[in-house]
Symmetry: C2
Subunit: 170 residues, 2 copies
Amino acid sequence: MADDMRGGGSGGESLLFLTDEQLRKGIEAMFFAYRGFTADPDRILAEHGYGRAHHRAVHFINRSPGTTVNNLLGILGVTKQSLNRVLRTLIEDGLVESRIGTRDKRERHLYLTETGQALEQALSDAQRDRMRAAYKMAGPEAVTGFRQVLEAMMDPELRRHFATLKESGS
Amino acid sequence: MADDMRGGGSGGESLLFLTDEQLRKGIEAMFFAYRGFTADPDRILAEHGYGRAHHRAVHFINRSPGTTVNNLLGILGVTKQSLNRVLRTLIEDGLVESRIGTRDKRERHLYLTETGQALEQALSDAQRDRMRAAYKMAGPEAVTGFRQVLEAMMDPELRRHFATLKESGS
DNA sequence: TTGGAATGTCAACAAGGCTGACATAAAATG
DNA sequence: CATTTTATGTCAGCCTTGTTGACATTCCAA
């Protein structure tokens, strides 16, 4: 339990004084914050009869237009059956368009329609507002730390996906 | 979209240069990090035939022994029926003990048995290890920022619950 | 003492995970 | 050219964990 007792200088070393209590509070903070993080989109989704699974699909299709089903599976970490069910409803409802690949005709490339983009916009507006407010409340230095800890918490494979998405941004 | 363009000094003001892209990456970081955050407990829970709902119940009962069902409902933010199902299996399996209140006989006070404490220990050990590793990787200053942003992201009511739990800690 | 509020339980349903089996079409390989 | 692998989709069925509705018990206050 309270092992890890090397003397601490400046770097990551003084962290070794972290008590179970402090770690527990970090865990609870993640739990409560994630609830807030999803609360606003959840309300919008409910109005349309969708759930978080739809949100995730729409988000990442918007992020990488023309992405394939297989690529999306890697990012979302669900089974193809599960993703397929969500994609099917989104396509039926005219929010997502699925085009057969030109080079490899087995692949389906996914795009948001205008309606799909409108929903994505509404969802991400709400979520960005929350994120922006939290950033403002916490201050700019906190934001850097926030991002560093989150990135360190990811599984390596997910961190790879995250980094790939990063490239297409700042 | 790119409104919010007031000049920035030191405080929360330079944050106003936050682009949609930067906010989007914050959102994705939350998504990927939360997956990592739950991955280790999920594996342990699966071995026992439990899910995240059981984890949450066990966690907060351990945190506040003798808590009532109603109090737990406020923290977890689910319906009493949903919580009841989870509690029932935990009680049947001998992980949780439910004692009828002495003052108010409508209330049930919840306690972890030794077996329950053992599971809680295993789960929180795994989750704390992940959290500790992330903290070390990110450095001590990052940890402060991380906590500040998370707390700012919570809904006010949840922040109240979080603060209440904090009191019984450091 | 009687009716409402608080608390908790049981039943049934839906979303969205999961596995397994299988079909199809195209690409890659021997 | 035949075969295997890959990418995708579909059907069936299961589990967890949300939901609402109905109901029992207990307490308290009118």
